[in-house]
Amino acid sequence: MIDVINLTKRYGKLTVLDDISVSIKKGEKVVVIGPSGSGKSTFLRCLNCMEDPSGGQIIFKGENIADMKVDINKHRRHIGMVFQQFNLFNNKTVLQNIMLAPVHLQLKETRKARIKAFFNKDSSIITKKEIIENARQNALRLLERVGLSEKADQYPSSLSGGQKQRIAIARSLAMNPDVILFDEPTSALDPEMVGEVLQLMKEVADDGMTMVVVTHEMGFAREVGSRVLFMDGGKIVEDKPPHEFFTNPENPRLKEFLSKVL
């Protein structure tokens, strides 16, 4: 799915990611943990080039998306992302938040065909109305899935943090992505709202979604993760299935870390 080859990220003289190579396969749930400043968020943000890597390659669907010549927007449609601060569009209702990107991109893709069809009186091509209606139905279905149907026409400012994050997950699911990146999805939540978001993430995982999750939730890592990566000093220092990772850590820094957080 995603192959990371010799990924390096520098800010000036500071090396944040130091020659990382890792491969994420379809259906895997990769959980990334590590102390703050270890580069785990930067690593995640490099996977969809929200941060441009300073060196190395990110191979997604056979193409190196770290290459500046590649149309990154095309690839990002297939890589969902969920943020710590939710980042719902404040000027759009919940439903519009979910529909916006699918409608916009599908309209853009079919623009030429639709204009041609208009002049040829060709009715086989999908119309703007149908695109919007399809996206709407899909959005409503997703809202039902995340249990927030009744919030469809409200604005994000009237939602709780947990609800916002569930909408944000629905928004990325609406694009039918091949993989979803989660950047500390529960770190900005009140403790009592963490559960509902983790529960939803677990359901998404059970449906077979490929996921890369940066988190401090060790329980989630243990329960849902198929692999756990431990990052320290810009390197991946441990990469194991959760059972081994937690019961039999080898790296001394990881041992120290686990002794503090568990």
Partner: protein, 235 residues
């Protein structure tokens, strides 16, 4: 106060003898110049602001940025009257275009407010949380699409009071358009006054016209802000 009656009568005479039509024309022109000028200004302001906040890896944005910088420096660095005069008597004749003084005023007012609004708009865009842009880009939307659909609407909402102030100052600045021969409110009332050299009442009423227009606009802005704020309200 007896004298005021005489002056009032003089004004009433002038008003009846064609002054009323002149004032209506002036009012219409004042509003036309300010409204169309503001619309042009907002469009130009958004374009310049987006150019100026755009990431500048490539050559084209760098060049555009320089052009925008020169543009804003010129319009912010010279008085409106000078811009009108240069436009009407220098630029348009040099380009070989004949435009009426009203159209000149609309164009110059648009260009001028574009320069001022671009700075306001830039501040507005910077005031929108960077996460909004990130979320749009992460969904595969382009920089431009995210800007137009997500960031700029929020930016405009944030700077709406400033846009209102710009509109008000445009209304007031229209009082210089008679320099290039356009009829505005000031020009109309000066015409009324100069019929019989009684300026007291005409200019008093002119001031009232301006303040009523400005008060109405302020009210309009307040109402508009309230309706735009519905996305902030908890319901």
């Amino acid at each position: 106060m007896g004298k005021f009656n005489v002056k009032w009568e003089a004004f009433a005479d002038s008003w009846r003898e064609g002054g009323d039509a002149r004032v209506i024309e002036g009012l219409k022109n004042t509003l036309t110049i300010a409204i169309i000028g503001l619309v042009i200004g907002i469009v130009i302001g958004v374009i310049i602001a987006v150019v100026r906040v755009m990431p500048k890896y490539k050559l084209l944005p760098k060049i555009l940025d320089k052009i925008c910088y020169i543009y804003t420096s010129f319009f912010r660095g010279t008085p409106m009257v000078v811009q009108l005069l240069v436009g009407y008597y220098v630029l348009f004749p040099l380009m070989g275009i004949t435009v009426s003084s009203l159209v000149t005023c609309i164009i110059i007012f648009g260009l001028n407010s574009g320069a001022y609004l671009s700075e306001t708009m830039r501040a507005g865009i910077n005031s929108v949380d960077s996460g909004q842009m990130e979320a749009g880009r992460a969904l595969g939307l382009s920089y431009g699409a995210t800007m137009i659909k997500i960031v700029v609407p929020q930016a405009i909402k944030n700077i709406l009071p400033t846009i209102g102030n710009e509109f008000i100052s445009l209304i007031k600045e229209t009082s210089v358009v008679s320099f290039v021969g356009a009829v505005d409110l000031y020009n109309a009332f000066r015409y009324i006054g100069s019929n019989n050299y009684e300026f007291m009442v005409p200019y008093l009423i002119m001031a009232m016209f301006y303040i009523v227009i400005v008060l109405i606009i302020s009210l309009g802005i307040k109402l508009m802000e309230r309706s735009l704020r519905k996305s902030d309200r908890r319901n």
